[in-house]
Amino acid sequence: MPISSYDDRIPSFPDLIFNTVSVDNLIDIRNVTFAYRNHAVLQDISLSVPRGRVIAIMGGSGCGKTTLLRLIGGQLRPTQGEVSVNGQIVHQLNNHDLYQLRRKMGLLFQFGALFTDLNVFDNVAFQMREHTDLSAEMIHDLVLMKLNAVGLRGAQQLMPNELSGGMARRAALARAIALDPLLMMYDEPFTGLDPISMGVIGKLIRRLNDALGLTSILVTHDIEESLKIVDYVYFISEGRVEAQGTPDEIRISKQAFVHQFVHAEEDGPVPFHYPAPDYASDLGLKA
């Protein structure tokens, strides 16, 4: 066989580099618009998440961060545009394929969403029991490994209402990684935690991502904690990507919006006041 026929099929080196842009993205969000009934949330938003990275999606409360995660998880359908995960267009999948895809995703809910009628061990074992035929001993060992990874092996018999906020978040994290997903999504994992627990969760997110070869999306409005651990940041405002960059670029950014966010300024592009009529006329001081 002549060498040249091989050459046709094997892409040259520069080509490979070029192609990684699309092939190596686990998630591509292309021109997605989404509205709840008449309430527009996302407007023609595009962003991508390369494999193996931890990226942060930041923005004020109510800007549509959770909505974005639910679009990725296929719980919502985009009004326009498409979300592709691991090469599959999420909203085009049938129920069975969507459930198959979800097995490759883990989502850490804002308050953990542990099953309140199961103890920590059974919470982590839940997916293994539902989706696999593993023996009881096997499940036992796997659960202990996951719990050990989040430092809760000693808490396996506790019920969710006996856990502190940080522990509940970690237990939910162990549950989310139970079946070794490709993708981990964290919905505001730092909310309501003390600084120590925040640091612990942040480091865990990074460590698990690198050790298990995951890809992680961190949705948050906690800028300090997340800039320490992520590779790339998208800022969302009014349904669009307003700014993006690596943590170092974000820290020194001159963009007014980013600056306001990073330095927690009260007023700026994001106004302090909810739109209101003139104050004086509201008080009846003006005719």
Partner: protein
């Protein structure tokens, strides 16, 4: 203007009610279609029989006993006027098996187990447990809702039977032990007058229908609850009110069909 407003409100109310009924029906058909898991993993259903059935036992037994004793007292008074106090057993048994057993047990079931189901499912929704389950590729209708549904449907006839049995015992305590109706007559008249098909089977059918209705209402209200603390408490109240009215309405319809001329 006012009249206009009034009519438009009636219209809105009617449309809302019909929409809700439609949503509930679709919910029910989803539950039925995704019941496979409940039968393949029957221990899921058994757990629910325990939490809605076994845990309702105390209130069922206690109420059954009291209702039976009241029937004994009241029935004795009335029957004695006609000199037929010996038929007390028949009166107690028929009242319980045909009517009071299924209906009162179902009303108690609605307030004990139905409200608990609504609160539990509503809380799971509020704390995002149902969504978490969906994201773990487990269908919450199949895994959470359907086992509770079958648990309720199976528990209800058993609870009604237990209610009737303790009720009859209560009537026996009052009639025979206290008021001196003859022991043998009490039981033998009961035995010959109560027919299996006409009375007992119809009672069982009634209670199965009530169990079906109460559990569907309770699950739907929980699943459909506004995911806040206030939403759960409203849903729980609605479960008790709606299922009680439904039980009484269904009882009328079923009775009209079952005991025509009998």
């Amino acid at each position: 203007m006012k009249a206009n407003n009034f009519f438009s409100r009636i219209g809105r109310f009617t449309l809302d009610s019909i929409t809700r009924l439609g949503t509930a029906t679709r919910f029910l058909s989803q539950v039925l279609m995704r019941s496979g898991t409940s039968w393949r993993r029957f221990q899921l259903v058994i757990r629910e029989i325990y939490s809605s059935g076994v845990l309702s036992l105390i209130i069922i037994v206690a109420s059954g006993l009291f209702v039976g004793m009241v029937l004994g007292l009241q029935g004795y008074q009335t029957l004695q006027t006609y000199g037929s106090a010996q038929s007390l057993g028949v009166l107690v048994a028929l009242s319980l098996v045909r009517e009071l057993g299924p209906v009162v047990a179902a009303l108690l079931f609605a307030s004990r187990a139905g409200s608990a189901i609504t609160a539990e499912v509503g809380l799971m929704k509020t704390t995002e447990q149902l969504q978490a389950m969906e994201m773990m590729a487990v269908d919450p209708i199949a895994r959470i809702v359907a086992p509770r549904f079958w648990g309720g449907v199976i528990s209800m006839p058993l609870l009604a039977a237990i209610f009737s049995m303790t009720g009859i015992y209560g009537g026996y305590l009052i009639g025979v032990r206290l008021l001196g109706v003859d022991d043998g007559t009490f039981w033998s008249q009961m035995q010959s007058a109560v027919s299996f098909r006409e009375d007992i089977l119809n009672g069982v059918i009634k209670s199965a229908v009530f169990g079906f209705a109460v559990t569907v209402i309770a699950l739907f209200e929980g699943y459909d609850a506004v995911p806040t603390a206030e939403g759960i408490s409203r849903a729980t109240t609605r479960t008790v009110v709606t299922s009680s009215l439904t039980i009484l309405a269904l009882d009328f319809i079923l009775t009209a069909f079952m005991f025509r001329g009998a």
